[in-house]
Symmetry: C2
Subunit: 446 residues, 2 copies
């Protein structure tokens, strides 16, 4: 008799919210008061190794409960799956989740339901990497190119990238991989920091943090813009003065503008030599991004943190609408869809500079960029991962920055595991933090 | 002392599911077994008139609970609003819901959260029309053009349609409106029927229903395609033989194809003279639709039932990607966003042929087309509203078809009100139907 296969036994969910709005951390022109949150998922198994798969959707507060409900709607697809098959081929689960015809109606492949799929799929990759006793970036970089191709859903992107194209890119990416891996382990992957530039910060705080960023070894910082042009002119001047001419200054409008407004505003800030303008308008608007890019060159156009799926990324590339493609580890359908997006970017020769920050986004996305460097694009030229110095203390394997670079993770997994104490304390609305907060407000009101 | 203003006192939600999968009603190449469902919302007030505002999101089964959770997340924005102000200006609530920065993160303006906003906004319009004692189409058709413009959010579409453009279109639309209203009341608005063409039906059933459709006065029917080309060739032959050469035959692939596959498949079916090919590929893929349209002419390209918002519709029009624009009353952010989309279509001179069917979608969308005919585009040429003869019996003011035309509703409101018995019986999982169904299955298994 063959032994009973080990299986997924539970998909547990947690509504975790951090009160970041109280310090204006994360404030920008569209998001004045975010409470950084995670709809968090833990896959549990009956394997003796005790490994769990962790994943999450990042949100900014209200609606985190809706996101949790969406993850729960996926449970029936996951519980009972045999572990060996699941971890050997996360792509099958990915396709089953994307392909559930009834759930698909709620997207398709966008918004709440798609992000929930991403959380679950990422949790499977976390589990697979833990079981393989390797960090995810290394699991991907060492994987057989044909197997990686099998993990990608080519539906709706085959007009720009075929499986054959993908295989050729991944095979070429193996050339020199060992040397790049050694370099990555020695020097890390370059980052840039948004910490100085939140819209709610004073000029003094902006100056202090911008100088600190340069002292810490960053070669690029980012400033939030888009609420008020006079303020933006002043803040860009302050930031440029603080960092000097040799450091790149990116500006980020968080979708605040219409097409023509984006052009006018970006041109008005051109005297401060912005390196890129990020999210100048709606992430859905491929044609507007193409028009803006034509009009604001040499300032580069960047977008992606809210781009819903590989299909829109494909069009941004086909239309020549972006200079810089910004993947997000937790917005699309997980590692599998981000593989498709990295392959599309490589095919079009456009650099990927991931969005990060939030809750745990730095922890996740570093693995994707490191894989890309070692075994796909093969370069870090003009590539930087966003870095924000918030909330890392809640993770068991937080990112480590050295001289403005992300150190390569060495712990097995996807660096997604949140500390049990943090989960307990910040679970909403009944964790210790929120219960005490409620009691205090009640006391203040009495 | 001024009297206390009347307010919204409750936003009640219901998870309503109909077991349509058992008859293969609604089966197509992407949706083999839909259980037509509604995440249903009722706004209650403390006004003496007793009017309620009804709205819903249509889904096809699983995930309807997620959609309900999303509506509940909007409650705090709605409860307590003064009724007079709310009904005099639904646009303010619409903007507040779209603009909630934390909830916006879950889209933005797409998927579960956006459809929930649509359900609530539509419920407000239902309430406003009931209080005005007029069907919604008539309320809109009689409205001051400047007020209608105030109901539209021009963010991200101003590069294609300005408020001034919209005002000019609406003012021009008033010319001859009284005569068109009289014609509408006398003859109704043309429909076409999808009832013969579901993929799960036999050739015999297809033939019978297609002949019946012609006998009923329809001048267009629609056939689901895209699962198997040999089947599609046979079914198109059967359908064309049943209806003869003078009736339009639309085909609908429900997003089944990649770009190049769509072109090949449509060309293969061209011998049966299809009038339009609907949803040939992903609704997100503006550029692919443009390429397909170029390649399959004179067959027209239609899409829209899954197009997420006005921004993607705008691009479909800007790119010349569609011949026929298919609005859906319950996919986007409600009447306000559909006003924007109707204005965009009028600006580009593209006919609007709404998606309907499902649960209550015919009931809702007829109001938008009738408004468009009376007071915006001013024509029904090449315009038809989809008709499917399912589930109308659950509504208090069901659509009435006469000689293939939708009769103009006369009851006040948006025709969104479901019968209380239907709500009670089909509420999932504890309504009488589902409870009995569960008991029966348990009995069968024992």
């Amino acid at each position: 008799m063959s032994p009973t296969p080990r299986r997924v036994t539970a998909v547990d969910t947690y509504d975790i919210r951090f009160p970041t709005s109280r310090e204006l951390d994360g404030s920008d022109a569209m998001n004045p008061d975010p409470d950084y949150s995670a709809a968090y998922v833990v896959l549990r198994t009956d394997a003796e190794d005790g490994h769990e798969g962790h994943g999450f959707t990042f949100t900014i507060g209200r609606g985190n409960d809706v996101q949790v409900a969406a993850v729960q709607a996926l449970r029936a697809h996951v519980v009972g799956r045999p572990l060996d098959a699941l971890c050997a081929d996360p792509g099958t689960l990915h396709r089953d989740l994307i392909g559930d015809s009834q759930l698909r109606w709620l997207g398709p492949e966008k918004g709440v339901m798609h992000m929930a799929i991403g959380a679950v799929v990422n949790a499977v990759w976390d589990l697979a990497a833990k079981r393989a006793a390797t960090p995810l970036w290394k699991l991907l970089a060492d994987a057989d190119p044909a197997w990686l191709v099998s993990q990608v859903d080519f539906r709706y992107i085959a007009d720009a990238l075929t499986p054959e194209d993908a295989l050729a890119l991944l095979r070429a990416g193996r050339d020199g991989a060992a040397a790049r891996e050694a370099r990555l382990r020695a020097h890390g992957y370059p980052g840039y920091t948004t910490s100085p530039g939140w819209l709610g910060y004073s000029d003094e705080k902006l100056t202090r943090l911008a100088r600190q960023a340069v002292a810490d070894g960053f070669t690029q910082i980012k400033l939030k813009v888009g609420a008020d042009l006079a303020d933006d002119l002043r803040r860009c001047r302050v930031a440029r003065a603080a960092i000097g001419p040799g450091i790149r200054l990116a500006i980020d409008a968080n979708q605040r503008w219409n097409r023509d407004e984006a052009v006018r505003w970006t041109r008005a800030l051109a005297e401060f030599d912005p390196y890129w303008v990020e999210e100048p308008t709606s992430p859905d608007d491929v044609l507007a991004h193409a028009a803006i890019r034509d009009a604001v060159a040499p300032v580069k156009v960047a977008t992606g943190e809210h781009v819903q799926n590989r299909i829109v990324f494909k069009q941004l590339l086909q239309a020549g609408a972006v200079d810089v493609l910004q993947i997000d580890a937790a917005r699309v359908g997980g590692v599998n869809e981000n593989l498709a997006i990295l392959l599309l970017a490589a095919r079009f020769g456009v650099p990927v500079c991931p969005h990060a920050g939030g809750v745990g986004l730095c922890e996740l996305v570093q693995h994707l960029s490191m894989f890309d460097y070692v075994a796909l694009s093969g370069t870090t030229e003009d590539r930087v991962i966003e870095y924000v110095d918030h909330l890392h203390e809640h993770f068991t394997d937080p990112v480590r920055m050295r001289a403005g670079h992300y150190a390569a993770p060495t712990a097995p997994g996807f660096s997604a595991t949140m500390r049990a104490e943090s989960i307990a304390r910040f679970t909403y609305p009944d964790g210790a933090f929120w219960a005490a907060d409620r009691a205090q407000r009640k006391g203040a009101a009495a």
